[in-house]
Amino acid sequence: MYSREIDGEVLTLSASGWTYNNTFVLYDYETESLWYHLQGTDGLTCISGFYADRKLEEFSSVLMRWNDWVDLNPDSKFLKYPQ
């Protein structure tokens, strides 16, 4: 989970259709910069385009079983899908 705010702008992130080393390469609609989670770093790094070398901050998230998550977080909301 990442911030998508940079220099006061809000980016819309999406899959670019590419993967690299089995990891999705993302891009933003606004500038078509490419964003990638470089191994051994936090956050998304802009590897090409308008925001080259800039980073989007990472916030912590967990991957776990629903039962375990809701035991720990009984007030948790749950993604409505389809919308």
């Binding site: 980016l11 992130l13 590419w18 078509e32 916030f59 977080n73 909301k77 899908y81």
Partner: protein, 135 residues
């Protein structure tokens, strides 16, 4: 017999999928790479060209190792999703499925992983923070 056929089709699908995972470079690599005016571009399956100059020159990406290239519209992101509250119809009961969970200032949200697989990214606002959840 019909049941047997179904099993065979399923097995074939598993084999094909398994092959993809075992040799990801074939046949998903080999995209056109264009070097012009000091720029390096790579063309995906839709004909769209992506500038990967800095990725290659600064971050050491190998243009040959970009894979799939299915185009930017193939995997649309989730936009400003809504959420079920506990007790609401549609809120899951017991389940062993995997979720991505996150917390901010005491508020918690969870995404079912199998929904994220077909979208890869969700763009939303969480309290005062614009975030992207990516799998």
């Amino acid at each position: 017999m019909k049941f047997f056929k179904t099993i065979m089709i399923f097995a074939a699908a598993v084999m094909v999928f398994g092959c993809e995972q075992e040799s990801p470079n074939e046949p998903f690599g080999g995209f056109p790479i264009i070097r012009t005016d000091g720029k390096i571009l790579i063309e995906d399956q839709t004909g769209k060209r992506w500038d990967i100059t800095e990725a290659v020159n600064k971050y050491g990406f190998d243009p040959e190792k970009f894979q799939f290239g299915v185009g930017p519209n193939a995997i649309p992101p989730i936009m400003n999703p809504r959420f079920y509250n506990p007790g609401e119809t549609g809120y899951p009961g017991n389940g062993n499925f995997q979720v991505i969970g996150y917390e901010r200032n005491g508020e918690t949200r969870a995404y079912s992983l199998n929904k994220m697989v077909s979208h890869e990214v969700a763009n939303e606002v969480f309290q005062d923070q614009q975030i992207a959840v990516a799998y």
